[in-house]
Amino acid sequence: MKINPDKCVACGNCTYVCPMGAIYIDPAIKRATIDRDECVECYACYNGLSKENLNPTMVRTMRKVFQLMRLRFDPEPDVCPTNAFEPDELVWPRVVRRAFSDPRVPHESTGIEGRGTEEVKTNDVSGRVKEGEVGFTIEFGRPGVGARFHEIERMSMKLAAAGVDFEKKNPVTTLMTDQKTGRIREDILNEKVMSAILEIKTTIGKTEEIIRLVKEVEAEIDTVVALGVGVRCDANGDENVVAPILEKLGYGLHRAKTNIGLGRITNPDAIEAARKEAAGAAK
């Protein structure tokens, strides 16, 4: 993202809306400026601010007059008065920032918007996490801190060494050069993103070990982590297996995403594939 200095009037509205705090008014040029190293290309400024398309010279003159009179105009805080934001043509590896930061852009690897993951939100259709299994989502950077891939790699390598399976339909997994070691491609390691999620699956018996391992790495990296644990409920809709383990580890279980199981496979080719799989299993 860039700010057109010919249009910017240094109103300062955008400095507040940037989730990374990467926009500031540069006193030398008296224009809003983006710290490109901190900017994660989330487009919150471009997509979230309303645009007024006012004449910059007129707005600057008015602001100068008000300033001289020690008056302050009290504008709407979610407006760019001169439509000064202009998207950059992003190239590799910087384009990775936007893929992981602008939730309106579907991830190329999974076709999914947001953070590009389905997790247990579609478990009734995908069957991703089965009874006896636990799906972990380890999210880095959100809210408002951001994360670089070298921090994510520290976690993925530790997890790989513990023998977990990385979810294949996951944007971070697709950026690994080797899923056995959890190593992420070198050219993106210093790229900063708003949020990225590692998805792994393991057996219920390894739940405690994985959580302890995640906590170890959390202490070594310079960002925040949000841990999610996805499990399959029993036929009655109860889940009394993983919850006690989490409570034993000191987690108060308050919030969750609950999949109520109303989904089903409807794509003709997926129905056929499921039928073949069931026939193969029966043999």
Binding site: Y16, V17, C18, P19, G21, N47, G48, S50, K51, E52, P75, E76, P77, D78, R104, I112, E113, G114, E118, E119, K121, T122, N123, V125, S126, G135, R142, P143, V145, M194, S195, K215, E218, A219, D222, T223, V224, A226, L227, G228, V229, G230, V231, C233, G237, D238, E239, Y251, R255, A256, K257, T258, N259, I260, L262, G263, I265, T266, N267, A270
Partner: protein, 206 residues
């Protein structure tokens, strides 16, 4: 409550079903409605008039959200009371859309909804909260506002600014909430709860 299809499994005929989900929610008076490509029912404008500084239209346009859905994506309806959520869930169950339906709320609330509607939970994704360098995070009230958009598009700075503006009397909580909601890219921001948070923040000054 949100509806989502699984890529390669049930996405081919999902668009009309997702649109139906949104349309069905409207009579139950959701406080927000949205999709992951276009945001919620309060959206930024590309051609705002300068006169809008004095008379900005704060009315959510729920029908526009339904009309604007143009591709299979995650769609969400947000409710601020359990009765409406349960009634809507009954309707969703009857409609048998075939896409995955999820409830994002407290575990107790979700269990109560499922029990009331007679649906056993299929899977649950526990949110265990934030860990790691939590010293980089702001105070609780700011976090309550900024994390209402699950993608982190509502910045801590704007949330803090709105708390300050409400405290100073420069904006009402209702006005402040609309500014924040426009940055949420998927429509799960809860304006009703945000208003309560802002009112609490103002009273905390006394």
């Amino acid at each position: 409550m949100f509806a989502i299809c699984s890529r390669g499994k049930n996405d081919k005929d999902a668009l009309p079903k997702l649109r139906q989900f949104l349309q069905m929610a409207i009579p139950f008076k959701p406080v927000n409605l949205g999709d992951a490509r276009h945001g919620g029912c309060l959206r930024p404008s590309d051609k705002l008039s300068p006169f809008n500084h004095w008379n900005r239209d704060l009315t959510p346009d729920l029908e526009e959200v339904v009309r604007g859905l143009d591709a299979p994506t995650t769609v969400a309806a947000v409710f601020d009371n359990r009765v409406a959520a349960i009634d809507f869930l009954k309707k969703v169950k009857e409609a048998d859309l075939g896409v995955s339906i999820n409830i994002s709320t407290s575990i107790e609330n979700a269990e109560a909804c499922c029990h009331e509607v007679g649906i056993p939970r299929h899977s649950v994704g526990y949110s265990l909260g934030f860990e790691g360098k939590t010293e980089k995070l702001p105070n609780t009230q700011t976090m309550m506002l900024s994390t209402m958009c699950g993608h982190g598009m509502v910045s801590h700075s704007l949330a803090k600014k709105m708390i300050d503006w409400v405290k100073e009397g420069r904006r009402t909580p209702e006005e402040a909430v609309t500014y924040l909601a426009r940055f949420c890219s998927c429509g799960v921001f809860n304006p009703s709860r945000a208003k309560r948070v802002l009112e609490d923040a103002r009273h905390a000054m006394k």
